[in-house]
Amino acid sequence: MAEAAPARLEFRDRDRGRALLDALARWTDDRIDDPVSIMHVCGSHEQAIARFGLRSVLPPGLRVITGPGCPVCVTDAPEIDEAVALAESGIRVATYGDMLRVPGSRSSLADARGEGARVEVVYSVTQAAEMALASPDEPLVFFATGFETTAVATAAVLLRDPPANFSLLTAHKYIPPVMEIVAEMPATRVEGFLAAGHAASITGWGVFEPFVARHGLPVAIGGFEPLDLLAGFAALVERIRTGRPGVDNCFPRMVTREGNRRAQQQLWRVFEPTGGVWRGITRVPNGNLQLRAEWQRFDARQRFAARLERARRIPAPPTRAGECRCGDIMAGIATPADCALFRGACTPALPRGACMVSSEGTCRIWHEYGGADPLAADVA
């Protein structure tokens, strides 16, 4: 009933959607025993797929795997521990809402807040900088999480000369390197990748050409509306079936070959890639973004090194992870249904792993939206 965004900006036309789904089913009907396997690497893609109920209608010959695309989930426990340590030591910490309840080795920022720490949820890094400006006599640390799209915003704020009491605890990640790792994992049988549309609007789709050439796997740039997603799947299935690797830009209204050069310049002026550990995936060369030397005066790890060192000396209790399969799930090797803890011992209220905490975590999304629960067509 509401007059919403013009229909042409919301690609939710149901007739076209069903036609695309029918076509996908026809094109994969001889692969039911060995489904065509596509991986996406974006938590928001999984959110969109789940939210629009696409999982319940994807054809059986097509398997869409959720890769390590949830920036919250892949933020490793030690990084969260650092944020918690700073908060517990009395420093004001600003964070995106998604990170608030993610558990570190011992506790989350929400737990720290419950014990009296000053943890503020912000909706943009700009807001965090403004908070610092409003209280110049005390430090404010921004827990900078998210992938490259979000890192662009952080870079923009640094380039605009933030107040001296503002600093960053950086945990930004960069996606293309992790696609390499997944492509080379022997256990995965991924035949094509759906790349994140908003990240590609920054980096351009050209960055995927070397990847395609190296691995012979097609890449489609996918948007976030139902038709965008289905078109992305269709383009990949077509290339997989005809054996023609290549890059398809299925999100032309946002993505060009070279991307947003201005944003790229700002990003790489402030950050540089470095190796890092992604929760559950072990080492990802060039997968983390760290502040370049000239920006390290804003590095909270240096400013508050003493407090962080003290916190590191407190032994963490033995990890409860146990049978948590977040790592495998994020690598696309397992689904939440394969994890013994899913829905039993591990729920959003009492999460064991990051995948259940984050709104973009695979387990959380499956728990909320039903995952592969066969939501059968008609009921009374």
Binding site: A2, A4, R51, F52, S56, G97, Y123, H367, A380
Partner: protein, 340 residues
């Protein structure tokens, strides 16, 4: 709730954590009775038989922050919330309200007078009044502004519970979704959005009286979707009734600014509080008549049938998006905007 546990914000969010707290602590010794509706039922109100009728009674604490928001304030909320809890049980003519107020030292007199004016206006709309209450003041910082607890009671000829749904019954909502929750969210979270976001807070007893007059026995269940939104309310109804519910996304009535904000912050309209809406379970033969009665009333103009009950997936709520189907989960705690 274990001794070593602490209360979290989720325990007040209207969802599964809160229900669990109530069941395991406050209602732990509750025993179900045939001649009364009580703690064991965990319905919107309690009721005892008096002669041929039921005396329904309920209480609510109101802690909304900010106390003043577009479309209303804590005073209007304090009256509407309690009147509505009575009304959705079938007690649409409240006999009276009692109101306990706890104020923080330093609370502005001007604000208190505004709140009182709102209370009086809401009572007039509901056809009731506050005849007794209590006043306390706590030291600065010992309480946040003002807390108002309202208790109400009224007679119902027929008790309408929240567990009466059967497969085939229709789910009707009396108007647009998410208005209150998003109006408050926009104000308190420094989101800096501007738009026509207004709380829908209003007493619904006269609207629901019209619906009951039109539908009679065919109105088999009612609930007001406050904290936790339509998702929580329908989950409770589905669980208690032993049915599944399928909602049709295209028929959910949502105002444009609410929809826009929902997309912007990534919070589902179904998870957000409504303070001037009710959900009705209606036998399908009478749905049309009930909708007509609702729409004839100013508070029910946007009433819609939004779904139906089924046998499958008992206790679960499913959304048909037009592309496919997915579960509607309950939000379990704070509604945190995703990166916007």
């Amino acid at each position: 709730m274990r001794k070593d546990e602490r209360i979290g914000l989720r325990h007040g969010a209207g969802g599964p954590a809160m229900r669990e707290l109530v069941r395991s602590v406050f209602a732990r010794n509750a025993i179900a009775r045939d001649d009364a509706l009580g703690l064991a039922n965990l319905d919107d109100a309690a009721a005892v038989r008096v002669g041929e009728r039921w005396l329904v009674y309920t209480t609510d604490s109101h802690v909304v922050n900010p106390a003043f928001f577009p479309g209303g304030d804590i005073g209007r909320l304090a009256v509407s919330g309690t009147v509505n809890d009575l009304a959705v049980m079938g007690a649409t003519e409240p006999l009276g309200l009692a109101c306990a107020v706890v104020l923080e030292e330093g609370f502005a007199g001007a604000q208190l007078l505004t709140i009182q004016a709102s209370i009086e206006a809401a009572c007039a709309e509901a056809g009731t009044s506050i005849q007794t209450g209590d006043t306390k003041v706590m030291g600065r910082g010992e309480i946040d502004g003002v807390v108002i607890t309202t208790t109400g009671f009224g007679f119902a000829d027929r008790l309408v519970r929240d567990d009466g749904l059967r497969p085939g019954d229709d789910i009707v909502v009396t108007g647009t979704l998410g208005d209150h929750g998003f109006a408050v969210l926009a104000r308190r979270n420094d989101l800096r959005v501007e738009g026509d976001l207004r709380s829908d807070v209003a007493p619904l007893n006269r609207l629901l009286a019209a619906a009951l007059a039109a539908g009679g026995d065919a109105v088999v269940a009612m609930k007001d979707p406050t904290r936790g939104g339509v998702a929580s309310a329908l989950h409770e109804m589905a669980e208690k009734s032993g049915v599944g519910i399928v909602l049709d996304e295209a028929s959910l009535p949502v105002r444009a600014p609410v929809r826009a904000l929902s997309e912007l912050v990534g919070i589902d309209v179904l998870h957000v509080a409504n303070e001037g809406k009710a959900l009705l379970g209606v036998r399908p033969q009478e749905t049309k008549r009930v909708l007509e009665a609702l729409r004839a009333h100013p508070l029910g103009r946007d009433a819609q049938r939004i779904g139906a009950c089924c046998e499958q997936r008992s206790g679960r709520v499913v959304l048909d998006t037009g592309f496919g189907r997915r579960l509607v989960a309950e939000s379990d705690g704070e509604l945190l905007p995703r990166i916007c």
